[in-house]
């Protein structure tokens, strides 16, 4: 084999390697991006589930405060890949039935007899990621994903407005 032939073969291998790597690297980066997307989706979904459950299991007027507390607990910091998870919109409560204020026939005082509140809570959370390559196809540098979940309200309003509220 002449010197020229040896160099030609080496050059061919080098070219194949370079071309191969130039295919492999973007594919690898795309896979990293997809992993990031799936991880973000799952994290957002899990937090959204916790948020909606917590929002549905307490007094309706404090639903958003409880949701924010869970968000602060479960998504306390943003990293280079994920943004902090936030509420896409305030928690929506669809109340179908709740105990109403009544008038005590004996004392003539208004009171609420208490009872379960029926309906469902709907929470929507969002997370933003900064992909490595996907933005080339998408056009925007950041991708935002939303998750929406609902949960039946499981709260029993205590009796209120009577002088002897707490009974043994």
């Amino acid at each position: 084999m002449t010197r020229f032939e040896r160099r030609k073969r080496k050059a061919q291998s080098l070219l194949e390697t370079v071309m191969g790597i130039s295919f492999l690297v973007p594919i690898f980066l795309l896979l990293v991006d997809f992993t990031l997307v799936f991880a973000a989706l799952q994290k957002n979904d899990s937090v959204c589930r916790n948020v909606v459950r917590t929002a549905a299991s307490g007094a309706p007027e404090d639903a958003n405060n409880r949701a924010q507390a869970i968000l602060a607990q479960k998504s306390d910091s943003s990293t280079g890949w994920f943004s902090k998870i936030s509420l896409a919109e305030p928690v929506a409560l669809m109340i179908t039935n709740k105990p109403n204020v009544q008038l005590d026939p004996e004392s003539n005082e208004a009171f609420n007899p208490g009872g379960p509140i029926e309906g469902s809570a709907i929470a929507s959370t969002q997370i933003t990621i900064k992909p490595i390559l996907l933005h080339l196809f998408h056009g925007e540098r950041e991708l935002t994903f939303k998750s929406q979940q609902s949960c039946p309200i499981s709260y029993v309003m205590p009796e209120s407005g009577r002088s002897n509220e707490v009974k043994e």
């Binding site: 191969g20 205590p158 009796e159």
Partner: protein, 298 residues
């Protein structure tokens, strides 16, 4: 003879081969990951569904009120019977007819209560059944997920069972004002010695001659110092089955002896694997929920 290997093109083959493995492996990983993700979501849906069905059981504290009515009815009958004995014992025979009339009214009232108790159980079964069947009929094709060779459909309710939760007492209390009755309850193990609450799912019969009457007291979390237990998901192993409401996605005749306080939902998610759908299996999810406790404290 020594074989001379051809080295040109080997890198290209190697890289294409690696690329293929890489892509196949990644697709497989994403599919499995998505499958697990969908499974978690389906379990959440089953939990929500169980909670929704459970909250229908004690709407308006109807089970709690029925337990209280049963307890008060047995006290009334027991007390009326004692008054008759008093009339005979204290030479107040002229009051005997009134005492007997009061006893008869109490017994008639109890017969009415028994009918209403049965109606209540039927009504609970009907409402829970309708709600569960409505869920299945509202499912659409939107929830179908397909990726690679994996296809999952929306979770459907396959079976719904009504029951109660282990070690939960009744919300009604055995009143110590009626000493004879409260002592009888303790002897017969109808009530708890520590808190006086009736045991759950018992026929709390009273002493003869009124032992022919049945007083069915159901399980329900009692109201503790004004705090009512809300509807909540519970572990499946604390559930005690009473009757099956839905089986194979079809409503079944159901009439448990006592009012239920919990519901167990069995869902299935049809899943197909393979390019031609070669492997088919139904993933099952079980979720249990208890209804809200008694609202009122007597």
């Amino acid at each position: 003879m020594r074989t001379i290997r051809k080295s040109s093109g080997s890198m290209l083959v190697l890289i294409v081969f690696l690329l293929g493995i890489f892509v196949v492996f990644a697709l497989g990983a994403f599919t499995v990951n998505n499958f697990l993700f969908l499974r978690t979501r389906a379990q959440d849906r089953a939990d929500n569904l169980a909670l929704l069905l459970a909250s229908k059981i004690n709407t308006g504290d109807r089970v709690g009120q029925m337990n209280e009515l049963q307890a008060r009815s047995r006290e009334l009958i027991f007390n009326s019977r004692e008054r008759i004995a008093d009339c005979h014992g204290e030479e107040l025979d002229m009051l005997s007819p009134i005492a007997e009339q009061l006893l008869n009214e109490a017994r008639e009232g109890h017969a009415l209560l028994e009918r209403e108790s049965n109606n209540l159980v039927s009504q609970i079964c009907k409402e829970v059944k309708e709600s569960a069947l409505a869920h299945n009929s509202a499912l659409s094709d939107l929830g179908i997920f397909k990726m690679g060779g994996l296809l999952t459909e929306q979770a459907r309710i396959e079976r719904v069972e009504l029951g109660s939760i282990k070690d939960i007492p009744s919300n009604a209390k055995s009143d110590t004002v009626f000493e004879g009755l409260s002592e009888f309850d303790l002897q017969q193990n109808h009530s708890h010695k520590t808190n006086g609450l009736y045991r759950a799912n018992i026929d709390a019969k009273i002493p003869p001659p009124d032992g022919d009457l049945s007083f069915k007291i159901s399980a329900l979390a009692p109201n503790v110092r004004g705090t009512c237990s809300p509807a909540h998901n519970v572990n499946a192993h604390v559930f005690t089955r009473m009757d099956t409401l839905i089986d194979n996605e079809e409503g079944q005749p159901c009439h448990p002896e006592f009012a239920p306080c919990a519901v167990q939902v069995h869902c299935k998610m049809p899943t197909t694997l393979g390019i031609k759908g070669d492997y088919r299996a139904d993933l099952t999810f079980v979720s249990t929920a208890a209804t809200n406790g008694a609202i009122k404290t007597e």
